[in-house]
Amino acid sequence: MSHMPTQPGAPSAMTPAEVVAQALELIQDSVSRYEQLQSCFNAHNNEAAAELFGRIAAIGLATAAAVARLQPAEALPRIAPWDFLWRCPDVLAPRLDQSSPEDCHHPFAIAELIRLALQREHCALTRLQDAHQQAHIAASRAILARIVEQQQQQLTELDALLAAVTANEATPPDDLDPPNRPE
């Protein structure tokens, strides 16, 4: 089992390179999920939702690029996927306290989707802010402060998207690809 990972150190003692590696994984993982949602909403004929997820993924990619520029001179450490600290929750997973079948469905309204994305991105912001407050190494703390700024910028852009659509939103679109429940 030579490939098995070693446990990373305490979160508060992360080096700048570890901080960037952890943040990049979190952001890139969320981008991957937005891209997955873009393609599956495309496949299920909700083009507006697909386009939205494409835009959100692009915002995330810009954030990832900005974070990557914070990389210190040293190479980023190789961390096993299961040892990453800040895991991205499923953007469409039901909330812990309010799970119901209606939490996920094909004909999502655009504003509803942006609110879900905002909820998850706020969760990421909270984790990054916590890490910033707990960081003991000054250089790591400085990088985390910049990453928090980038995340806040991403939230601002999502807020702007939400403001743009809520003005036009009336009712959710018809389900153009409903599941055929009866045999």
Binding site: S32, P81, L96, C104
Partner: protein, 284 residues
């Protein structure tokens, strides 16, 4: 796919250009993500990796990966993969499918794959429903599930217990993961790939379309599996009784040195001659 040796790859590099057509919120996305993370972490060259599947929503997985793949007949993924692994033991052979494909249509192959202990990693995405055919009861559907018009009073029969049955049949590695935790699942898949012998990864992968009523709470229901089974079939009753089906982690891992599966004993010349003979027979 390039035939040359690939450099260090990221998880997303293992994805093909074909976009998944799974429903929004489908658990299988998490399995795809976990598998690519595991392959990237293990630095498995694409050209040395093959993913074999049967039929069903989950069996579409090979199309979404940029490595060798084969989308076979319903329930027949394990025989195909066994043949491939015996012929090409140098390859990492991963088998993917669902609960209907693996436990019902291909149930007999599942038993014997465990028993033969060929070096395969078998990932079953269990959503306890036949999703591709619009929501009928599968072997792992609870007896009181009444949402299908085919079984309006529920299937009424006990569920298939994949982990206990795999243990009874002799599988050397048995793990259970949750698609909502792709990072944790990636560790189980990586360990399964590294295990020398048959490795079974049972993945709880919710179907948001046909089982939204009772699978939304899986996220809160899963918990670490703490009662590690013993390394023999005598542990099956305990696993069957004590396991609530939601414990995730490695349920059983036999000593890798105990692997007694087929070895690559054919010399290249012998293999070439055997292939020629088979091809000649097929032409007849």
């Amino acid at each position: 796919m390039s035939a040359t040796t690939t450099p260090t790859l990221r998880a997303r590099d293992y994805l093909s250009d074909i976009k998944p057509i799974w429903c929004p919120g489908c658990g299988h996305f998490g399995v795809l993500s976990a598998l690519t993370k595991a392959l990237a972490y293990l630095e498995r060259p694409k050209e040395d990796t093959a993913v074999i599947s049967g039929i069903g929503c989950s069996s579409r997985l090979p199309a979404y990966l940029d490595c060798y793949g084969f989308h076979g007949l319903h329930g027949r993924a394990l025989p195909l993969a066994t043949g491939l692994k015996v012929a090409r033991p140098d390859l990492t052979v991963i088998v993917a499918g669902g609960d209907g494909d693996g436990f019902s249509i291909g149930g007999n192959h599942f038993l014997h794959a465990c028993r033969r202990n060929i070096d395969l990693c078998y990932i079953v995405m269990d959503n306890a429903v036949y999703g591709m055919t619009k929501g009928q009861a599968s072997p792992t559907t609870p007896p009181d599930w009444t949402r299908s018009p085919l079984t309006p009073n529920g299937p009424g029969i006990p569920v298939f217990r994949p982990a206990a049955i795999a243990l009874a049949a002799g599988a050397g590695f048995i793990a259970r993961g949750f698609s909502g935790d792709p990072h944790g699942l990636s560790e189980l898949i990586a360990r399964a790939i590294l295990h020398p012998g048959f490795a079974f990864v049972h993945v709880l992968s919710p179907c948001r379309t046909f089982r939204p009523d009772d699978q939304s709470d899986w996220k809160q229901g899963v918990h670490p599996f703490t009662d590690r089974a013993r390394c023999d079939a005598e542990a099956v009753p305990a696993l069957r009784v004590d396991d609530d089906g939601m414990g995730i982690g490695v349920l059983h891992e036999a000593d890798p040195k105990a692997h007694s599966g087929p070895k690559d004993t054919l010399a290249d010349a012998d293999r070439a001659a055997a292939i020629d003979r088979i091809e000649a027979e097929l032409e007849v």
